[in-house]
Symmetry: C2
Subunit: 136 residues, 2 copies
């Protein structure tokens, strides 16, 4: 079972523009903007709720042909996925596969927050779900 919501991700065209609302209007102090070359994105986390609190993640695709860019072109800016923390990502992957959930990864990928797998929205009522084991 997942321990907690780690973050909720929002896909945006331009992180600086998005911060005009999330930082300046809403008043959340963002972490540093990071570039993640393996995913061809820039990301920024908006910490909420203190240590252990669930965060908002802003994601800006950097290239035109990634799956994230295609999502943005098709659906526009908005909610993209929920990430739940699990204690053991290898056990979670095995359990999801055993239960027949459509996992998009055959082994955990290296994400910004730790080792992670994604579950297809078709088995999760239209929601793209990430499960992550955070780096200790």
């Amino acid at each position: 079972m997942p321990d907690r919501i780690d973050h909720v991700a929002i896909i945006v065209r331009d992180i600086e523009q998005a911060l005009l609302f999330y930082r300046d209007t809403l008043g959340i102090t963002p972490g540093e903007i990071q570039e993640v070359p393996t995913e061809q994105v820039r990301i920024a986390f908006l910490p909420l709720g203190g240590p252990g609190g669930s965060e908002i993640e802003l994601i800006q695709p950097l290239t035109a042909n990634s799956s994230l860019s295609k999502f943005l072109d098709k659906r526009g800016e908005g909610l993209h996925h929920i990430c739940l923390e699990v204690p053991d990502i290898d056990a979670a992957l095995a359990e999801m596969q055993a239960k027949g959930a459509a996992v998009l990864d055959t082994q955990p990928r290296i994400a910004a927050e730790g080792r992670a797998i994604f579950i297809h929205p078709k088995v999760a009522n239209g929601v793209l779900l990430e499960l992550v084991e955070k780096e200790k």
Copy 2:
């Protein structure tokens, strides 16, 4: 500034069907299914992260002509909104209005978790945002 993410809401056609994944496959123990007649919905919260943790909310529209039903017909099942907890909803409403954010309420509405306002997705990068002051 918001204190924390209170919940992330997922709109579904049938809560019992959605629980086959979220409860049985993913392993989250849901709270009771509640009917909210004023909003013409059934809802269930999936608590995560212990006391004070951010939750997932499942929302099932009960009538055909509500804005939630129309959202479901147009976009299908999936992520619907993020709800952030604020310490004082009247102050938050006044601040959002003063900063020109498009607030969908002229005064706080009574939601399942307390007094709440909604902010239009057009100012929040495509995300419908709820701000709530929880009942003490």
